[in-house]
Amino acid sequence: MTAHVDLHAVPGHDAHHEIEIPYTVHPRPDTGVYNGKLGIWLFLASEVMLFGALFSTLILLRTSSNHWPRGWEELNIPLATLNTFILIGSSVTVILAWANLRLGQLKKAKIFLALTLLCGLGFMIIKSIEYASKFQHHHYPSTNNFFATYFVMTGLHGLHVLGGMIVFAYLLLTADKWYAKHRDQFTNRVEVTGLYWHFVDLVWIFLFPTLYLL
């Protein structure tokens, strides 16, 4: 049962003040960081556990198997290597966007945000080419445990790339408005989105050798 309380009816209470969660852009004295940064680190901690479970599954299945294909026998190394360079490059462009915002250069920051978005798009296009090739050869998640882990892990990672791209597109489209309204807040948003993006890069740094090269 949900209790309904009309806050307007309570003397001395303003409904808007009751529900407002202030966005603090300055580091809090007790935590030493601003709320958004602590929030994204807690989220990333949960992401470590999510991908950790999949890595654990991969290790268990692979070490338990009498035959497990080596990555280079089944997967496309040149395409995956290109994707690695693209993702590393996008980590640099997002941090350069943040650095330029700190310098007060919105125009340059937007260019770097757009480059990051393009890198994400490039990554997804290459990944879809790779998937299409696998499907052409009748390799599906149901084919064997190797392809099951390959599709699940790269698929989940791809979804994270897609999520990051959506946020970058939003930041890019609303940059002028947010920057004019609250420069600190916008800069912090780019920083925390960047932290998420670096984590996505970090996951790929381990996925690439684990799935493709070993």
């Binding site: 599954t57 268990l60 941090i95 250069q105 800069t187 070993l214």
Partner: protein, 141 residues
């Protein structure tokens, strides 16, 4: 287009040194990290072309990936200058991540002792259809 020139009165208050000199120094550092990551990626791929035995390949791949990951975490995610609270969160995460990796693996060795030669990946034969009981025959279904 809103373009702010960096000005002392307009410094951000996010806990970072936002002076133009400091930020430009950081940008140079980020580029060096990028070059290092690119070179290490090349090294990983190059080593994989030797098709080393699996144990050697795993050790080399994990060392290179560990160095690359540390560079990303330390410099791009600026953990090198992060607050204690963030490290506390990460320490807890690392512990549980370690458990997540260790526990199933440990159990696997237990299982191997109990059932030598058991292959998790082996396809199990289809279960034999049980013969219908005399009672079912007589029921007419």
């Amino acid at each position: 287009m809103t373009e702010h020139a960096a000005h002392p009165e307009e410094q951000l208050h996010d806990g970072h040194d936002n002076s133009p000199e400091a930020v430009k120094r950081e940008i140079r550092k980020y580029l060096y990290v990028f070059y290092a990551l690119a070179v290490l990626t090349g090294v990983t791929v190059w080593v994989s072309t030797f098709h080393l035995p699996i144990h050697t390949a795993v050790i080399i791949a994990l060392i290179v990936a560990g160095v690359k990951g540390s560079l990303v975490a330390a410099f791009f995610m600026h953990l090198i200058s992060e607050r204690k609270l963030i490290f506390a969160v990460l320490l807890l995460t690392v512990f549980f991540f370690g458990m997540l990796i260790w526990a199933p693996w440990h159990h696997k060795y237990d299982a191997e002792r109990e059932w030598p030669g058991y292959d998790l990946n082996a396809k199990k034969p289809a279960a034999a259809t049980p013969a219908p009981s005399p009672a079912e025959h007589s029921s007419g279904h």
